[in-house]
């Protein structure tokens, strides 16, 4: 069956801002999971020797820095659009970088829905969300843009 059409009036919706602290332990777990071998990403002394104040946040980590609280909370904004999370695929993901973040930084995530459209007669729907990431002092860290694809579930 085709997924329920997403109401286009959600374009422009500002989602709640969140503050998250970047944790060294989580960065080390991420490095382990992706097979990172550069000690700059796991060893604070190596990071400092390379001129970083602490472990740097690797390029794609920011996508999930505010996630990990459980699927219900993490994907609640998708469920609120009437979308079944099982039907969601990640279409694309973009990062524009302004400054590196490091372990210990408290980051503010400011997401908003910027586009909704459909293809193939509504069989595929697309939801685009942008998230501005800044440090507590207001320094911009990165802008994220993700496109979610909502497909048909044939089960």
């Amino acid at each position: 069956m085709s997924p329920t059409a997403v109401d286009p009036s959600v374009v422009g919706r500002v989602l709640p801002e969140r503050e998250v602290e970047v944790e060294r332990g989580r960065l080390r777990s991420f490095a382990l999971a992706i097979g990172e071998t550069d000690p700059v990403y796991t060893d604070v002394d190596a990071a400092r020797a390379a001129g970083h104040p602490d472990l740097p946040v690797p390029p794609t980590f920011l996508f999930g820095v505010g996630l990990g609280r459980g699927a219900e909370q993490d994907f609640g904004w998708i469920a609120e659009l009437g979308i079944d999370i099982r039907a969601v695929l990640h279409g694309d993901q973009a990062f524009t970088y302004h400054a590196l973040a490091h372990a210990g930084d408290v980051l503010t995530l400011a997401p908003r829905i910027v586009d909704v459209y459909s293809r193939k007669g509504g069989a595929l729907q697309f939801v685009v969300r942008e998230t501005a990431v800044r440090r507590a002092d207001g320094t911009p860290v990165a802008d994220l843009r993700e496109t979610l694809v909502v497909r048909e579930i044939t089960a």
Binding site: A33, I34, P58, T60, F63, V65, G68, A87, L89, H90
Partner: protein, 139 residues
């Protein structure tokens, strides 16, 4: 070689060859990355969505592209990274990340390389395509 002033259009980054994706990798990557979508972790959920098996997080391959870049230049030189997920990576898929310089320009007082990126599996399937912009050196 690393990203330097010798970098020109056509320069290839050293490929990053990954081991086959195991279920353990997915179990580690979920909580580490924050992506707890059960479709990557729970066979029952995958089957309820009409799939035969779980499949790898797209952001796992994106993170590998991040490694391709940071293995080539200091991360402080990465200006942008954009990825498109074009096919899923099945469990046991074996990805390789590649990158090639497609243009070199001067922007904001620095020389920048635009890179075309891809992740391909051993069977030839392209799973991700992408672009990145990195600063080569300050002018």
């Amino acid at each position: 070689m690393t990203g330097t002033d010798e970098t020109t259009v056509g320069t290839e980054l050293p490929p990053l060859v990954l081991p086959p994706i195991s279920r353990t990798t997915l179990a580690l990557f979920g909580p580490a990355s924050g992506d707890l979508n059960p479709i990557h972790l729970d066979l029952d959920v995958a089957r309820s969505a009409g799939l035969d098996d779980v499949f790898a997080h797209g952001m796992l391959s994106a993170a590998h592209l991040g490694r391709l870049l940071t293995g080539w230049v200091d991360q402080r030189r990465i200006r942008s990274l954009s990825t498109r997920f074009v096919a899923v990576t099945p469990v046991h898929g074996q990805p390789t990340c590649t990158g090639r310089v497609v243009s070199v320009t001067e922007v904001d007082g620095e020389r920048r390389a635009e890179l075309a990126l891809a992740v391909t599996l051993a069977d030839g399937t392209t799973t991700l395509t992408g672009t990145a912009v990195v600063a080569l050196e300050e002018l």
